[in-house]
């Protein structure tokens, strides 16, 4: 899967969690821009994990601050 394809699929997954309709750019942060709390993070991560059949550990999540980093991380994980 190309990074563009990963991006498209994550964009679809993020929609129900993006309650305020924030514009999603690579720089969009989960904690500040999207105001995700810890439960939302867990649900959102679980959706991505199921979609791509991967694991994103809490250690990895700590490094993923914005949307761009997420797409890159998932692209790398589903490739390996």
């Amino acid at each position: 899967m190309t990074e563009a394809e990963v991006d498209t699929r994550i964009r679809a997954l993020i929609e129900p969690f993006n309650k305020k309709g924030v514009e999603i750019t690579p720089a969009t942060t989960f904690a500040n821009d999207l105001e995700f709390d810890s439960l939302t993070v867990m649900d959102f991560v679980a959706e991505i994990e199921d979609e791509f059949d991967i694991i994103i550990s809490m250690n990895q999540q700590a490094e993923i601050e914005n949307y761009g980093l997420l797409v890159a991380a998932v692209h790398k994980l589903q490739d390996s």
Binding site: D37, S38, L39, M42, A46, E49, D50, D53, I54, I55, S57, M58, N59, Q60
Partner: protein, 411 residues
């Protein structure tokens, strides 16, 4: 100069600025005039179920003293004897000068209680989780844990170097999916709890442990809130669900049913004793005082024969659960599953008001709030004791009715 510094201007680089939100929340709550829920003093403790709290005679319904062992005459005698014979403290680590006869006897009592080969006593339950989890799961290993796990489990994960993978609370399928996705050959530790302390709900350990074993994982079960009460011999949820032999490690505490303080891990792993040398929260702290291991060992041995008390505690739990539901309170579980009953409050403000109204009635419960609680809930957490009489449980229900109506939580 310093004269110009005003109190509302934080000095540059104040490391306490990060706590400003919490300070604000607390000040807002206390400004309403409510009694501080986190500053209660028990001036005198009368029994496992009664104390003088902030000057009032109070029924205790939030102390995890499930089996009411804290004033057991045999337990107290053992403690007094140990104080006289061995002194007030060990002044040393378990691996140096801090292992007395009493520590071995306490570990023997645990081995017998659980029917396991090895037992290791820590200075607190928190340290037992911190030590075992951070030590056995290393770099490249995976820890899969329930998202609602206790802080000591998360802190054990944070202290170690393993990859941490949480799954949705009590969701067997979510656990299974994560087990399936772990890279081939990686070591896996699955961490579960028998009873989850916030809502008082029990885990489907039988299914979860079976799936974990199928994927080659080792399983650690924290039975802090079930020891002494759940299972035929009070060994916990793993015993009740018939999977004791499949649990690699059981973690527990002395600060609940046992009625003292301390923590432990029991295991049948043939190499378990090496933990005594490699587990830093075991090595780099002083061991429990002689009186504490003596009271603990005596209490553990008495809990083996506590079936009558267990039966009465179940009665109390069922009566309180049904009574609160009938009064119109929203509870954490539809059926009573443990000795914990969580009453769900509309918000922190009303929760604090209800907590204070109950305290003024003469009833102490725990006010639990985020981040300790799941889903941002405010809870009044009730933990029953085998020493609560049936009449006391009725009195408790009357208090809840009056306080709930006064605060406007029930009609």
């Amino acid at each position: 100069m310093t004269d110009n510094v005003t109190t509302d201007t934080a000095p540059r680089g104040d490391l306490f600025s990060k706590f400003d939100d919490i300070i604000q929340t607390r000040e807002t709550l206390l400004a309403t005039g409510v009694e501080d829920p986190y500053n209660l003093v028990m001036e005198k403790v009368l029994s496992p179920t009664r104390a003088i709290c902030n000057g009032r005679d109070t029924i205790l319904l939030g102390t995890y003293n499930y089996m009411g062992m804290t004033f057991d005459p045999d337990v107290l005698d053992a403690g007094k004897q140990a104080l006289a014979d061995y002194g007030s403290g060990t002044t040393g680590s378990r691996v140096l000068n801090g292992t007395f006869q009493g520590h071995k006897e306490c570990e023997d009592a645990l081995k017998e209680f659980y029917g396991m080969d090895h037992a290791m006593v820590f200075s607190t339950g928190y340290q037992a989780n911190l030590g075992i989890i951070s030590t056995i799961a290393g770099k490249g290993d995976y820890i899969i844990l329930d998202i609602d796990s206790h802080a000591s489990i998360y802190d054990g994960c944070a202290m170690g170097n393993a990859e941490i993978v949480p799954f949705r609370h009590n969701d067997v399928e979510a656990l299974e999916k994560r087990l399936r996705r772990i890279p081939e050959g990686a070591g896996i530790l699955v961490v579960l709890e028998g009873v989850y302390s916030m809502m008082g709900d029990v885990a489907p350990l039988k299914e979860m442990v079976a799936i974990s074993k199928k994927h080659g994982a080792m399983v650690l079960v924290d039975e802090a809130h079930s020891m002494g009460f759940i299972g035929e011999n009070g060994r916990g949820v793993a015993e009740e669900q018939g999977i004791m032999d499949d649990c690699d490690f059981i973690i527990g505490t002395f600060s609940k049913s046992v009625g003292t303080v301390g923590g432990f891990c029991v295991s049948n792993h043939p190499k378990f004793d090496i933990m005594r040398l490699v587990c830093r929260p075991y090595v780099f702290t002083a061991s429990l005082p002689p009186s504490v291991v003596a009271t603990s060992a005596t209490s553990i041995r008495k809990l083996m024969h506590g079936s009558n008390k267990r039966a009465h505690l179940w009665e109390n739990s069922k009566t309180l659960h049904k009574g609160l539901l009938d009064l119109g309170f929203k509870l954490g579980t539809q059926e009573p599953q443990s000795a914990i009953i969580a009453v769900i409050m509309p918000d922190l403000q009303q929760g604090a008001m209800m907590w204070e109204a109950l305290l003024k009635e003469g009833l102490y419960v725990n006010l639990a709030r985020p981040p300790a609680t799941p889903a941002g809930m405010t809870l009044l957490r009730c933990s029953l004791c085998a020493e609560h009489s049936a009449e006391e449980v009725q009195t408790i229900l009357d208090m809840f009715e009056r306080a709930g109506q006064a605060v406007g939580i029930i009609g």
